[in-house]
Symmetry: C2
Subunit: 408 residues, 2 copies
């Protein structure tokens, strides 16, 4: 079902010096599937993360925040699928702590150097014994070229593993970035997506890593939505091992922007992959809002359109019932919006001029665009210079089927 | 498909002295269906309305506001289905004006005493010639006992006509109230629902009618949601003909609250009927939020739950995947929410205690409630005294089918 998205060729995923990945079939929820991932990080890496703003943040998210705040350099990521360990109260926190303790003992580091991540069903107890029992198998499999298997391990309702890898030259130095992510549903990231991990061999300070992580998330995962549901477990982590030749010490360095762009490009590739593989997705839609008075305003309009079930079902049906988009613009909460200044294009088709149907607009033209699998909705508000884009999917029968059956 | 909702027995709908209703098959969008309604109101009635807050408000909504502001006593409502006359710019406004002019000429009143309403597809030109050609037929059929046919005439994707009628005694005087409404999709009213009309024979001042209309809307139509899409055409009108024995001159009168409650009861009956007949609905769900710090906060949490596609698909599947409700509470935008103070009941089942799964909660108990067609979700936030309730439906395959096929 995924929209123009294929499994990455494992040979296209560059290893990152200083990072090894191993998986296990721990039987967290179901037997005989990869559901446990360990990412071992060499000493001295700069590791930073951004996490969900959901107030019911999962136990592993709470622990990640606590461990990163302790200012120890992270040495491992520990990821399980099949159980979100969210809405689980104190016992959930204790389970997450126990899993960090065990892994720390096995690899020889402080428990606060382990960052835990969980994804799956909310409000069920984490089977921590099975998780811990799976750790030796995962450690036995640690290798630098296991990115493809790692991407498979973190899938839930994803239909395609998601990985992006780049090798670029920045100021005569080569830098490598490789990332994986999982998505599919409960996707309206707020600070980060469900799970996304990018590693690079660049050598950067920890404080810069944190700002770069935030920037990349804002330009990628924080601009996608599938169903408007912000997860309890969203986490995005960047690991900079410092083992490669590129070293950036300050943000005033000429190389900084080039590296930031490369990182953002990988993050955006992963974010787009999540949308393309959104639950039930048959279309990949970019909602671009221009001429807004502020970026916040542009964002509100873009999300109103991207979340409207009526707009999304019209895309699913390839029905150019485009008045539904205007209705969503109208309820986006801009009190002083002047409809007479609003323009709308669907790809190259000028649909709405000055708030009403363009006299030259013909339904056949709208129909032609709606049949595409990739569509850009461009809205101009006539209020200012700010702009944004968000990426989303249509709403199909399969979305309902997947979410009505998820636990069965 | 409607949830525990049947067509009203025409004999249960009391006529209102001073109001007559007539319909026509004007062929606005399709031939041979009732699609034009005229409600003729005797002189001297107090008529008040509340309208959508959508900035792309339809031409008829703009005209209703203009006509009511002119402070002329309304003498007729003119309603068409099949075309929303929204996103139609100046030509749409001219078409709505022409229809009011014609009807005013036929019944002998000022054009500003006619209130127009449209519902149907957005961004298509209103076929005003066909509408005007249908007026004589509608006027020929004017009669006080045509409420049932009027309810049928204003249906679009509704599967059941919606009407509520009450005769109550207030301070020894009898008062009659009869109302009709249409809903089905693009339902997250903001000030009023798609179309709702209530008439009463009470004798009340115009200013009181306006405040009562707002109050009734706030307690009914403004608390329902099907898909979160606020329509361009929401309109709710109350007609008080003053022909009955009940007369209320001031809001300090003892009878005022009793009458307000009777009016609100009728409005809530219509609003619930709209939810029960929501597009694809198989469940009627009340989301009740208690112990909030403010009513606004309670409302935000209630709507976050009521709009979550994941929560709605779980209800459709009768799957007690109730962690999805906690996730929605968590992203409702209350920054200082303490999860450890949150309690959740599903009907009589205590599911979440102090932010985590209740130790005594058994999935069978949740399952039992989820199978019901009417369910109350009760959330206590542990922050204050404010409370609210909103009413919504599940999200089913039929919602997608209906909205993917609506125009075909």
């Amino acid at each position: 079902m995924a929209v123009n998205l294929r499994s990455p060729d494992p040979r296209s995923l560059f290893p990152i010096d200083g990072v090894e990945l191993g998986w296990a079939e721990a039987g967290i929820r179901k037997p005989d599937r990869k559901d446990l991932l360990v990412v071992r990080i060499d000493e001295g890496a700069a590791v930073a993360g951004v996490f969900t703003q959901n107030r019911f943040a999962a136990a592993p998210v709470l622990l990640c925040r606590e461990h990163l705040a302790a200012n120890k350099r992270a040495r491992a990521l520990l990821v399980n699928t099949g159980n979100a360990n969210a809405g689980t109260g104190e016992p959930g926190l204790a389970a997450a702590r126990a899993s960090c303790d065990e892994l720390a003992g096995m690899i020889g580091c402080d428990a606060r150097q382990v960052l835990p991540f969980s994804t799956g069903v909310i409000m069920e107890s984490l089977p921590v014994d099975r998780l811990i029992a799976g750790l030796p198998q995962a450690l036995n499999r640690l290798a630098a070229d296991h990115w493809s298997q790692a991407a498979e391990t973190i899938m839930t309702t994803d239909t395609v593993p998601k990985a992006v890898s780049r090798q670029v030259r920045i100021g005569e130095k080569s830098v490598t970035l490789t990332g994986i992510a999982k998505g599919a549903g409960m996707i309206r990231p707020n600070m980060a997506t469900m799970l996304g991990f990018i590693a690079t061999d660049a050598d950067i300070p920890l404080s810069m890593a944190q700002r770069l992580t935030q920037h990349a998330a804002d330009q990628s995962f924080n601009r996608i939505t599938i169903d408007g549901d912000t997860s309890t477990n969203d986490s995005f982590v960047v690991i900079a091992t410092g083992r490669g030749p590129l070293r950036i010490e300050s943000e005033s360095n000429d190389l900084y922007v080039a590296f930031r762009d490369a990182l953002t490009d990988v993050a955006r590739g992963l974010a787009h992959a999540i949308v393309r593989d959104g639950e039930g997705a048959t279309k990949f839609i970019e909602v671009r809002v221009e001429q807004a008075a502020s970026e916040n305003e542009a964002s509100r309009v873009a999300y109103a359109v991207a979340h409207s079930p009526l707009v999304k079902t019209a895309f699913f049906a390839s029905d150019p019932n485009l008045g539904r988009i205007l209705a969503a613009v109208g309820y986006a909460g801009i009190d002083d919006l002047d409809p007479a200044r609003v323009q709308m294009h669907l790809d190259d088709v000028y649909v709405v001029r000055d708030g009403g149907r363009h006299p030259a607009y013909r339904e056949e033209d709208g129909q032609r665009v709606m049949k595409n699998s990739e569509i850009v909705v461009r809205l101009q508000l006539g209020r200012g210079e700010a702009a944004t884009a968000v990426w989303t999917t249509d709403l199909s029968h399969d979305y309902v089927s997947i979410n009505a059956d998820y636990r069965s």
